[in-house]
Amino acid sequence: MPIYSDKVMDHFMHPRNVGEIENPDGVGEEGNPVCGDMMTFYIKVKDNRLEDVKFKTFGCGAAIAVSSMVSEMAMGKTLEEALKITPAAVAAQLEGLPKNKYHCSNLGAQALHKAIEDYRSKKTQGEKKS
C-alpha cells in the first residue's frame, strides 16, 4: 500500500517485540480507542538499562510499526538515553510517516516514557518504604 514507506510495511508485517512481560518493572499506556490508536509498553530494567521491552498495540499500520520501531530503538539503552527517543526520531527511523498519521499514531515514544516514569515512581515508593 503506497501510503507507507517500505520500512513501515516491514515493521507492520513483522513487528518486533510484540507481547507482554510478566511482572514488568514498568508499564506505560498512551492513546485511546476513540482516536483509533492505543499502545501499552512493558519494560524490564537492570542496572539502569532496558533489559527487555515489549508492547501491545491497537491501531492502524502506522501505530503498529511505530511501536515496533520504538521497542527496537529502546532495547538495551540506559533509561536516560531511552527518554531522549522522540516521535520525530521514530518517524525518521521509519523513513517517514504520512502527514495525517504523524500525531495520532506516533505515540510509541510517549508510551515508553510513561513506562520508565512508572518504573521510577515505583522505585521511589519502594525506597521510601524501606
Binding site: 500500500m1 482516536c35 498495540t57 491497537f58 491501531g59 501505530a63 495525517n100
Partner: protein, 395 residues
C-alpha cells in the same frame, strides 16, 4: 495470488460493454453537443439516448434528468439548489444523521448561509423513523433530504413512508439514491420523491458522471452558471463519453437487475452468516433484512480496521472500513456512531461489497484468510488482553 475485489461500494468496475459504448465518443465523435453542425448532432443525439436510458431506469421523463459530474455534485446541487430556490418560503431543512458527506456538508454550508438544519436520528440498524421526520417539519421547512440506502451499513430507508409525510406537508423531498440506483428497483413515482441523485460508478458505469432527477414543476437554482446546457440548469460542455457510458450502464442494469440481485444476495447472505459464525466477537452492522443485496458490513471487536484492511490486501482481498485511521479526517464513521456503536467497536469496522465478478469461491477465500488475520491482530491488541483478563477474573 488470488485477487478478490469486495469494495464495490467505493466503485464498481466498468462493464466491458459500457466501455465499448464510450470509445467512439473519445475519438471519432468528438463534437460539442451544443454545436449546430453534423459533429454536434452526433454528440447531442448520443446524450439524448443516454437521457432516455437513465430516465427509463428510474421511471422518469427524460427531460427531468440533469447530467452532472458526480454523485457528489448531484447531492450538492439538490440540497443547495432546492433550498436556495425556495428561500423566500422558509429557511429550514431536514436531513438524517447518517447522510453522505456530500449531503451533510452541503446542509452545513446552508447553515452558514442562514438556514437552520434539523438532523433526524437513526436506530441501531441505521433506520430513520418517519415519525421523527414528521415531527421535525415546521412551517418554514423547505426541504427534506434522506438517503435511499446507506453505503456504509447497507440499510434501506423507508422513503415511501417519508414521502407521504412530505407530500402532506407540501415540502420538497430529495433522496440520495446513489447507493441504490442500478442495484435495486428505483422508481421515482413509486417512491413519491421530488428529486433523486444517482451516480454511474455505483452500477458498472464510468466515474465522474452522475445525474439529478428533478420532478417537473419543482424549482432548483443552478450551481454552475454559464451556457444553456441541461436546460440551463447545469452549464458546461457535457462529458459526452461518460454520459453515454452512464446511459449504457442504466440500460444494462434495468435489463439484468433481478438476475444480478439474485447472484449478489447469495454471496452477501453467505458472508453475513458465516463470518460471525467463524470468528468470535464479530457483529453485523446495518439492518438484517432491509439491506442492499451486495452489501455485508461488520464490526470486528478488539482490532482496528486499517490494519485488517492492509493484511487482507496482502492476501489479495480489497475491502474498506469506517475506522478513524482509514479516514483522512481520522474520525470514526459518523454513521456507526449515529447508530449508537461505541468508538472502540467502530474502529473495527469492515465493509465487504460484492460485484458481478464475485463468486461463492471468493466468499470462501475471505472466510479462509480473515480468521488468521483477526487472530494475529488480537494477539497484538491491548484491548483483547484486557478483555481476556477480565473474563478470566469473572470466572
Amino acid at each position: 495470488m488470488k485477487k478478490v475485489y469486495l469494495d464495490n461500494a467505493s466503485t464498481t468496475p466498468l462493464l466491458p460493454e459500457v466501455g465499448d459504448s464510450m470509445t467512439p465518443y473519445l475519438g471519432e465523435f468528438f463534437g460539442n453537443p451544443s454545436s449546430l453542425h453534423d459533429w454536434g448532432d452526433v454528440a447531442r443525439q448520443a446524450i439524448d439516448t443516454a437521457r432516455s436510458q437513465v430516465a427509463a431506469l428510474i421511471g422518469a421523463n427524460p427531460e427531468e434528468i440533469i447530467f452532472t459530474g458526480s454523485g457528489t455534485e448531484s447531492n450538492n446541487f439538490a440540497v443547495k439548489g432546492l433550498a436556495l430556490a425556495q428561500q423566500s418560503k422558509g429557511k429550514h431543512i431536514v436531513t438524517s444523521a447518517i447522510e453522505h458527506f456530500s449531503v451533510l456538508h452541503s446542509a452545513r454550508t446552508l447553515e452558514k448561509w442562514g438556514f437552520e438544519l434539523t438532523q433526524v436520528p437513526v436506530d441501531k440498524y441505521g433506520m430513520v423513523n418517519p415519525d421523527d421526520v414528521r415531527e421535525s417539519i415546521r412551517k418554514d421547512t423547505v426541504l427534506v433530504s434522506i438517503m435511499h440506502a446507506n453505503g456504509e451499513v447497507g440499510t434501506i430507508e423507508p422513503i415511501k413512508e417519508i414521502a407521504r409525510i412530505t407530500k402532506e406537508n407540501k415540502v420538497v423531498f430529495h433522496t440520495d439514491a446513489i447507493a441504490t440506483t442500478g442495484n435495486i428497483p428505483v422508481d421515482v413515482k413509486d417512491l413519491g420523491v421530488d428529486a433523486l441523485s444517482l451516480a454511474g460508478n455505483q452500477f458498472y458505469g464510468p466515474k465522474g458522471v452522475g445525474a439529478l432527477w428533478v420532478r417537473r414543476g419543482v424549482r432548483i437554482m443552478p450551481l454552475l452558471d454559464g451556457g444553456i446546457q441541461e436546460g440551463g440548469r447545469r452549464a458546461g460542455t457535457e462529458n459526452v463519453a461518460a454520459i453515454v457510458g452512464l446511459g449504457k450502464a442504466a440500460e444494462l442494469a434495468k435489463r439484468d437487475m433481478s438476475a444480478r440481485m439474485k447472484q449478489l444476495t447469495q454471496l452477501r447472505d453467505r458472508l453475513i452468516k458465516e463470518l460471525p459464525a467463524q470468528i468470535e466477537h464479530v457483529t453485523v452492522t446495518g439492518h438484517p433484512q432491509n439491506r442492499l443485496p451486495h452489501h455485508a458490513s461488520f464490526c470486528v471487536e478488539f482490532i482496528e480496521g486499517e490494519s485488517m484492511l492492509m493484511f487482507l490486501n496482502m492476501d489479495g482481498v480489497a475491502v474498506s472500513s469506517g475506522s478513524a485511521c482509514t479516514s483522512r479526517a481520522l474520525k470514526a464513521s459518523h454513521v456507526l456512531i449515529a447508530m449508537g456503536i461505541s468508538h472502540e467497536l467502530a474502529q473495527g469496522s469492515l465493509l465487504c461489497t460484492f460485484g458481478l465478478d464475485n463468486t461463492i469461491e471468493d466468499v470462501d477465500y475471505v472466510l479462509k484468510v480473515l480468521p488468521p488475520i483477526v487472530d494475529r491482530l488480537r494477539q497484538m491488541s491491548p484491548l483483547y488482553s484486557k478483555y481476556l483478563k477480565a473474563s478470566k477474573g469473572g470466572k
